[in-house]
């Protein structure tokens, strides 16, 4: 059905079966109206019922008014990616209905506001002209009115149950019931919408109450008002809606396993705190900012030694300052980092080179977003792999580590500091917007799995006060030289962005140049030797399968899900997830990919950057490329369909995932 909108997107519709195990839910609304809060309540209610939750947040670069939406997928089994189509859609204004009704599967349901029915599609303020034109053409083709009523009628014709709600009336009712003014009662609109959704699937109300308490800890008045809203919504659904044709129900899980519910920015921040981050400088930029502001909000924390731990967060004047300040802090022995996104990273390039030639342990967390230039500032892309690998003039060793999910994001954020200090260089921890804003319920992270390794720190006073400066850049076989920290007696030396002697004094001598260049670059060989294979890459699915998907980053969840679906049909496939992008795991990949037939690169960028890096290093070319660059993440089901067409022998070598409805 969706395909008929533009013809670009072929979608399979789900068949209706009563499903108690899984639900894909979407809520949309104008930014600033509390869509995130609504999604938060929904996710908490599900997670508190022991369900696995994965959430996907889509929003505009805008503060108020533009459309945002949240996909939440909940299940009794772990889920790692969103669905392009949902079973239940909740809207309380026109744009969400116009945009998303089309994405409700046959047999699904949607809730809409009574006031929106007569509205012309043309009159939906912020709906893009392209989307309006396509939707109007679609409705006209079917002889339906070009109003939201027409959109609803189309949904009904496809077997979608549509439930009307007069939100204003419900709010009035709540105001009367609680004896409060209408404006105050209207603040529960999101709670009402969430509760109506959960009432439709007959989810136990006590978990919704618990979610309210989690959403507004300690703010009893607000909780009480929202509890009343929940009761009203449940009653309204029971009294008003005929749910016999809507088969989805949601039951809580028996699981009592401890779970946390968090997003990617938080996972990275927590990993950094665990790893002993003590200094972070940053300049605000989407979608990296939330990590630094989360750290700032948690700048002091418990420690096992009884003292209050702390991390100093400094908001700088720009990203140039951020990277230089973080490098300066790292010189003193502080575990130091900065976090940014593509445009900010571009400004940091000169500072990265300085840290590279001066062998400064510096962690840069790079959250990719749609580019180039300002690009799609609040959408996702994996377009910065080349940038991360090559940023800087000339060459210096760097470690580039790519996380594929929230759990990896946490542990990698910690490991990044070990690499930075062990190899005394820049570590770029690369993630993307999809991961940064993805929410997931997971077992709490295990700090026992983290070991802090500080690398080779000099003890210049070990044999008494040394004479003269310290040979900070002494030539060594590993390329790693003991590092005195600024402030250490006897450790004095110089640092310079120029080529330098072992004492750090600037030189243009050809022999010393060669020695220092070779010493620095040797660290990459040392790192390639020392870093365990499991950190470099991971294999999912059937390790013996020839059908091989090569990918990285946030696509992992969707790919793993698609492989599981193929396995259910007896079709063997494996994912080779590359995590260490520099030094690139050449021998490991050569061995693994020797049996790959076909080899399919899957990436959220235009040209398949990892595929190109693979070919550059190994000569191995991908047989097929599956890419998506509309700024939105890949869905597991869609990938499953694409892999099936490849298995069926499609001639296409580059398959672009398109979805006009997200």
């Amino acid at each position: 059905m969706v395909a008929r909108l533009t013809g670009a997107y072929e979608s399979q519709s789900e068949t209706v079966t009563t499903n108690h195990d899984e639900l894909a839910w979407r809520v949309g609304g104008p930014q600033g109206s509390g869509v995130d809060t609504a999604a938060g309540i929904f996710q908490r209610a599900c997670a508190l019922g022991g369900l696995y939750v994965v959430g996907r947040r889509e929003y505009y670069s805008n503060i108020m008014g533009r459309h945002s939406y949240f996909d939440v997928r909940v299940a009794h089994h772990p889920v790692h990616s969103h669905c392009d189509e949902v079973q239940l859609l909740t809207t309380f204004e026109d744009e969400s209905l116009a945009r998303h009704a089309i994405s409700v599967v046959d047999g699904g349901a949607l809730v809409y506001a009574a006031k929106d029915v007569e509205k012309e599609v043309q009159g939906v303020t912020y709906l893009d002209t392209r989307a309006k034109d396509d939707l109007i053409a679609y409705l006209e083709e079917r002889g339906l009115p070009t109003t939201l009523g027409g959109v609803l009628e189309d949904a009904r014709q496809r077997g979608v149950q549509t439930y009307e709600a007069d939100f204003d009336k419900i709010v009035d009712l709540l105001a009367d019931q609680l004896g409060i003014v209408q404006a105050l009662a209207a603040r529960t609109m999101n709670t009402l919408a969430v509760a109506m959704s959960l009432a439709l699937v007959e989810y136990q109300r006590k978990y919704v109450y618990a979610a309210l308490a989690k959403t507004w800890p300690g703010r009893q008045k607000i909780i009480d008002m929202n509890v009343s809203a929940v009761d009203l919504a449940y009653q309204f659904v029971r009294d008003t809606y005929d749910t016999s044709e809507f088969a989805h129900r949601l039951t809580p899980s028996e699981s009592k396993e401890p779970r946390i519910l968090l997003n990617g920015n938080q996972a990275v921040a927590m990993g950094k705190i665990a790893a002993g981050l003590t200094f972070q400088s940053y300049y605000p930029i989407s979608p990296a900012t939330d990590e630094s502001t989360y750290l700032e909000a948690h700048e002091t924390f418990l420690t096992t030694n009884g003292d209050r731990g702390s991390v100093l967060i400094v908001q700088t004047e720009d990203e140039i300052s951020a990277v230089c300040m973080a490098a300066g802090a790292a010189l003193t022995g502080a575990r130091s980092a900065t976090a940014t996104s593509g445009p900010g990273f571009a400004l940091m390039v000169e500072g990265l080179g300085w840290a590279g030639i001066n062998e400064v342990p510096l962690v840069v967390t790079l959250y990719q977003r749609g580019g180039p230039s300002t690009g799609l500032p609040t959408r996702s892309e994996q377009g910065d792999l080349f940038l991360a690998l090559n940023a800087g003039h000339s060459e210096f060793p760097r470690i580039v580590l790519a996380s594929g999910d929230l759990e990896e994001a946490f542990y990698d954020a910690a490991t990044a500091f070990n690499y930075a200090e062990r190899y005394q260089t820049v570590v770029i921890h690369i993630l993307d917007k999809s991961l940064s804003s993805q929410t997931e319920s997971l077992p709490p992270f295990d700090l026992e799995r983290i070991r802090i390794e500080r690398g080779e720190i000099a003890s210049p006073n070990g044999d008494g006060e040394p004479e003269g400066p310290y040979p900070r850049f002494a030539l060594t076989e590993s390329g790693i030289s003991p590092r005195p920290l600024h402030g250490m007696p006897g450790g004095m030396h110089w640092l310079t962005g120029g080529e330098h002697t072992q004492y750090g004094r600037v030189t243009e001598d050809p022999v010393i140049r060669e020695q220092q260049m070779e010493k620095r670059m040797r660290k990459l060989e040392t790192a390639a030797r020392e870093i365990p294979v499991d950190e470099k890459l991971r294999v999912y699915g059937d390790p013996a399968a020839e059908f091989t998907i090569l990918s990285w980053g946030s696509n992992k969840g969707a790919i793993v899900e698609s492989i599981e679906r193929l396995a259910e049909e007896g079709l063997a496939a494996r994912l080779v997830q590359v995590r260490l992008m520099s030094p690139f795991p050449v021998p490991e990949l050569q061995e693994l990919l020797a049996s790959a037939r076909p080899l399919i690169g899957v990436e959220a960028n235009f040209s398949g950057q990892l595929a190109q890096v693979l070919r550059q290093h190994t000569g191995i070319a991908c047989d097929k490329l599956v890419v998506k660059y509309n700024g939105r993440p890949m869905a597991g089901r869609r990938l499953y369909e694409v892999f099936k067409t490849i298995m069926d022998g499609t001639d296409e070598t580059k398959i672009v995932l398109r979805n006009p409805n997200e």
Partner: protein
């Protein structure tokens, strides 16, 4: 390498290094590093607790001439690097050394925002009005219409007043020296380092190679009828630079007005010395301490982050509790 002992006072020699210096003969930079070495000795600083952080250009090379932690950074970026070192290790005495183009051209954004923080460090600004190392182009401190010998035509961009800039963005100690009066510059550097906030010293200096207008003779007033040196010292006048601790807004405003009148003097008579000594503004460390109580006791560089076995000392249980669902 250099430590004062009970029986020996430090001298400038303790802060010299046995390496040749590649500035042009007669360069004003020599006087400045000489003064810095004397100031470090007079302050009896321990060399390992000192970082000298330079930018790019002739002046950016200054860190090589001190046996301390000497950091030659990027063009315009000395302040962010210096901030990083000082914030992470508050025990360090951090001195920035950079040129006029470095500080107020490419680095102007950092100059402005450093002022907002009032971090305890000193910034020594080498002001010869030209870009020396790239062969004499106009610096932001070169006046409109002037044409030093490397310029193909007179300068068509206006001049920035570094002292006024420093005051308007929030530097809390502001002085001016002249590189050929080393004794006075030593006094200024000592006072600037002792000031517990962000201090700025504008040091006027000839560039014997590229600035043929404001030469040693020009500063000496040889072209003037009076034949008197152009530089005069504020401590020889009744100018009072101090804004005392607890000063009210009216007192601050009144001092700012005196300051403005003074920094606009230029030409035949050029004031030098201490222009502003503002003790009424909190330092960045004090502000941090309002949020991180043990910032100075456990600063970023030495806070214990792991036990002997490498296990993290961070306990995330409170943080997990905030997001714990079950």
């Amino acid at each position: 390498m250099t430590t004062a002992t009970a029986d020996r006072k430090l001298t400038a020699k303790d802060f010299q290094v046995p390496f040749p210096n590649d500035w042009c003969p007669g360069c004003g930079d020599f006087g400045i590093i000489n003064a810095i070495q004397q100031a470090f000795a007079r302050l009896e600083l321990e060399a390992h607790k000192v970082a000298v952080v330079g930018g790019i250009g002739c002046s950016g090379k200054a860190p090589y001439y001190f046996p301390v932690y000497g950091v030659h950074t990027l063009h315009g970026r000395l302040l962010p690097f210096a901030h990083g070192i000082k914030l992470a290790n508050p025990e360090m005495t951090v001195v920035g050394v950079g040129g006029d183009g470095d500080g107020l051209g490419i680095g102007a954004g950092h100059f402005v925002n450093a002022g907002r923080r009032n971090l305890d460090m000193t910034y020594i600004f080498f002001n010869n009005e030209v870009y020396g190392l790239t062969k004499g182009q106009a610096a932001p401190t070169l006046a409109l219409g002037l044409q030093p010998k490397s310029l193909p035509a007179p300068n068509i961009q206006s001049q920035l007043n570094p002292l006024m800039m420093a005051m308007s963005v929030g530097f809390t100690w502001i002085g001016r020296g002249y590189s050929y009066n080393v004794k006075k510059v030593v006094d200024l550097i000592v006072a600037a380092i002792e000031h517990p906030g962000l201090s700025f010293i504008d040091i006027l200096q000839p560039c014997p190679t590229y600035n043929n207008l404001h030469t040693k003779d020009w500063y000496a007033g040889k072209d003037l009828d009076s034949g008197q040196p152009r530089i005069y010292w504020l401590d020889d006048t009744d100018y009072d630079p101090v804004i005392p601790e607890g000063a009210d807004d009216a007192a601050v405003l009144s001092k700012m007005n005196e300051f403005l009148a003074k920094v606009h003097e230029w030409g035949d008579e050029i004031p030098a010395g201490v222009f502003l000594d503002n003790r009424a503004t909190t330092t960045f460390a004090e502000r941090i301490e309002t949020r991180i109580e043990n910032y100075r006791a456990q600063p970023p560089n030495t806070r214990e982050i792991a036990d002997a076995s490498g296990k993290p000392t961070a306990d995330l249980s409170e943080i997990f509790d905030e997001v714990r669902m079950m």
